[in-house]
């Protein structure tokens, strides 16, 4: 073995690499390529987060990225290699969403409270700036004062030059308009002013945000108003009615001197309680939860809707399960001919998009023109969707129609796993068909299907599409102040009272708070049910 050829040495080296540096095989390069792509995407997200100044997303993404690199390039993290992708998606799509919703739930985010306090102040000042009535409009030239060194660094204050009563006036934000000597004029348009550079259109457009915000006072006295331009060509005289004091964070009314200070509700209010319309986002604690659940206006309907939501979800699960199971058992019967065709037919309702079917049913159940009243019932006028009880019944029945094929499929599979000899033994013992179903089939079916039933319950608890498309929550409850209907479930009620449905003043804070409540209810139910299904497993 003293004579070693280069080839064998190479093999030896490769072997060592293969054992101690497990990563350097072909798999390693594939992994490197995949990780490179992941890192690329991650870095891109981090950069765009930095650009958008979303520091939370930036930090979260950086942590995830470092974790991913560590997990996949370290050999000590084998179990994590399997868990990390799922865990990352859980964080992004579940935990983040819930936390984000929770974050909004404690604020007053909604109509009139969209931006920051500064935004609100700017907006109020701008909205209350009125053009002086009957004032003229002036063709305006945007000018830049030339610095002492004649340089135009763009650092200086921009200004306006206009012709007023055949005098050329020039001024900046700091320097009110005053006559300029030796300026040249073409018609009404100032073309040059000594000591200033007149900007051409290109230069104006380069600095348009600045120019649109520029106000050049007409005179020393604030009451004379100021020149503003919206298009960079024509200026008008405006009067400010509100002035913002950045240090005191207050708005002052120019004419009557009323001072509006920021309140805890995220509004500017005067001492006598008058509030200005535009507000900003603030933390409001549990106010939204209180409004949603305990407010006199919504409390009555809330508990009625909560009860109906439970009834609806439970009835949907039970009915779809029973119908689906019945059909599955029936179609298992070997003497039944054309089972395949039946099976396909039965699955059809499942193949249509749910919201489409709901819309179709809404049409068919129409009191006067619907297919069911008109044709099937020979011109009856049964208010399927407009009577409170019938509407509830319709919603449940339509949902059963939509949901049973799923249960049918599930049960069909699960039935295969029930041993035939158990059933035979039962019938030898003298058990009838019903008894065999109750004591053997049902318990054995429950084992694999119970988790699906819980999932179906949770799904129906939030079955927005069906209710919204079929009845829209109607008929409306009478004598209730909130615009809530008899078939509204919690999620559609939230949609309505938070103003998302009608284009009414939206209240995202309230919507988020109520969504959290729904989330908690569903979570609690799911946890309890999963605990209980464990006892089912003992049957096996």
């Amino acid at each position: 073995m003293t004579e070693r050829s280069p080839t064998t040495e190479g093999t030896a080296v490769r072997q060592t690499a293969g054992t101690s540096h497990a990563g350097y095989g072909r798999g390693f390069w594939v992994k490197l390529a995949v990780m490179a792509v992941i890192n690329a995407v991650g870095v891109m997200i981090i950069l765009s987060a930095a650009q958008a100044q979303s520091w939370g997303i930036l930090a979260g993404m950086a942590v995830l990225l470092v974790a991913a690199d560590w997990v996949y390039f370290s050999r000590r993290a084998l179990p994590l290699k399997y868990i990390l992708p799922g865990f990352a998606f859980l964080l992004v799509y579940q935990v983040f969403v819930v936390l984000y919703t929770a974050g909004i739930a404690f604020t007053n985010y909604g109509t009139g409270h969209i931006g920051s306090q500064q935004d609100a102040a700017d907006q109020l000042v701008a909205q209350n700036e009125q053009r002086v009535e009957g004032s003229e409009s002036y063709p305006v030239a945007v000018v830049l004062p030339e610095g002492e060194d004649g340089g135009l660094l763009g650092e200086e204050e921009l200004g306006f030059a206009v012709v007023v009563d055949s005098d050329v006036l020039v001024g900046t934000a700091e320097q009110p308009l005053r006559p300029a000597e030796g300026a040249e004029v073409d018609g009404d348009q100032v073309t040059s002013v000594p000591g200033y550079q007149v900007l051409d259109r290109e230069e104006v457009l380069d600095r348009q945000t600045e120019i649109a915000e520029l106000r050049v006072p007409f005179g020393e006295d604030e009451a004379e108003g100021a020149l503003l331009t919206q298009d960079g060509r024509t200026a008008h005289v405006y009067e400010q009615t509100l002035v913002y004091d950045e240090e005191a964070e207050t708005l002052t009314h120019v004419e009557d001197g009323t001072v509006y200070s920021p309140t805890e509700e995220g509004l500017f209010a005067a001492e006598d309680g008058t509030e200005l319309a535009v507000g900003w986002r603030v933390f409001v604690g549990f106010d939204n939860f209180v409004t949603g659940i305990a407010d006199t206006q919504t409390a009555g309907p809330f508990f009625e809707v909560l009860a109906w939501t439970f009834v609806f979800a439970l009835a949907s699960v039970v009915l779809t399960y029973l119908v689906g199971m019945f059909l599955a058992i029936a179609f298992q019967h070997e003497r039944l001919r054309g089972r395949r065709i039946y099976r396909v037919l039965v699955i059809l309702p499942y193949a249509f998009p749910g919201f489409l079917s709901a819309l179709l049913f809404a049409g068919m159940l129409n009191e006067r023109f619907g297919f069911i009243n008109e044709v099937l019932l020979g011109g009856a006028s049964i208010p399927w969707l407009t009577d409170p009880w019938l509407a509830k019944l319709s919603v449940i029945l339509v949902n059963t129609w939509l949901g049973f094929p799923y249960m049918f499929l599930v049960c069909m599979g699960a039935l295969q796993s029930i041993p035939k000899d158990t059933l035979e033994a039962a019938s030898i013992d003298g058990a009838g068909a019903l008894r065999r179903w109750w004591s053997v089939t049902l318990p054995m079916l429950m084992v694999p299907t119970a988790p699906l039933l819980i999932a179906t319950f949770a799904f129906n608890f939030n079955n927005f599409n069906l209710v919204y498309m079929l009845t829209g929550g109607g008929p409306r409850m009478e004598g209730v102040e909130a615009p809530v209907g008899h078939t509204d479930i919690l999620i559609t009620m939230v949609f309505k009272i938070s103003g998302l449905a009608s284009g009414q003043a939206t209240d995202y804070g309230l919507a988020a708070a109520m969504s959290l409540v729904i989330f908690l209810i569903v979570t609690v139910i799911a946890v309890i049910s999963f605990r209980r299904t464990r006892s089912l497993e003992e049957i096996n």
């Binding site: 390039f73 700017d122 701008a126 909205q127 348009q208 319309a277 969707l385 829209g472």
Partner: protein, 400 residues
Amino acid sequence: MQRGIVAASAAAALLALSSCAGDGVALEDQSRSLTVWVDDDRQEPVTRAVEQFTADTGVEVEIVLRNYEEIRNDFISQVPTGEGPDITVGANDWLGELALNGVISPIEPGEMTEEMEPVSLEAFTYEGQIWAVPYAIENLALIRNTEMTDVTPETWDEAVEVGEELDADYPILLQMDTEGDPYNMYPMQTSFGAEVFERTEDGSYEPQMAMGGEPGAEFAEWLQTQGEAGVLDTTVTFDIAQEAFANGESPYLISGPWALPEVEHLDVAVEPIPRPGDQEAVPFVGAQGFYISSQTESPLLATELVTDYLASHEAQVSMFEAGGRTPALLSAAEVAAEDPRMDGFAQVGAEGLPMPGIPEMAIVFDYWGVAHAQIVDGRSQDPAVTWEQTVDTIQSQLDD
């Protein structure tokens, strides 16, 4: 092995950096491009108007096609984040909410005040300022099937009489819904003098209910009698009313210009709405226009595009041709009025009341139609009481 990790990570990082180098993180020069949100109907004419603008100024304009229903909420939520467009089309009844959220800027109308239909500017006025450049107005009127009758009814009862004499399936069609349709019912209500809000001297709306009292009670009684007689029916929805009229099942339809494409095969005349009460039946006039975002990076260009190009005669005429609504610009409206049907709508609209743009209007809509439906369906013991309760509920919501 440690070195291996470091080397591999470095390689991965290098690859990562090189692969995203092309994306560039440099800020684009946003001050030289504009984004406009439009819906289906407006896409083509706006694109045409914008081509001229790009040719004149060299500024690229991106036209983004949006669902009309989604624009309002998306605009409100995206503008504050800096992601929103510079300009969007919108209806005048969004005005209050957009202004309250601080997402739009007032517009200096300049010469527009003389060139535009006054009611269209009035519709876009809020807190004493004008907030959008209007391009179209729309309102209801009576559409008469001239093949079925020559009678232009003055009053509602006259119309019903004509319809019954013809033995039509529906004497007159006025769409409702199981939750009512207050927009379409409003002319009936105004003919009893029950306007929705109080108005100040300059005609702008105040969040004070004006539809209660004696006029409101009379209107409610009328709703009940019409419901009992079967002339009004909550199952007659938009689709059903349109189809029935198109099939010649009724001589009269109260609807807007959007109904015209469906009745091209009929010979129709557009006339004032017959009044059930003592006063004229006056519809709402809704206006559509272009709003400028308060957060735009290109305020001067956006203003120029909207006031000089989208308000131009050519643009307004081509928007009329695409959308079939009366242009807000008077000179363009004259072109539209060459179609006698459009002229009919314009005549009725000139007398109309602007659709309220104050944010409180949405609250009213939540309860208003439901009360109509309840009375027409005969679910109310005493219509006057039901009506008064509804008005009180809305008022208490407004005062909150």
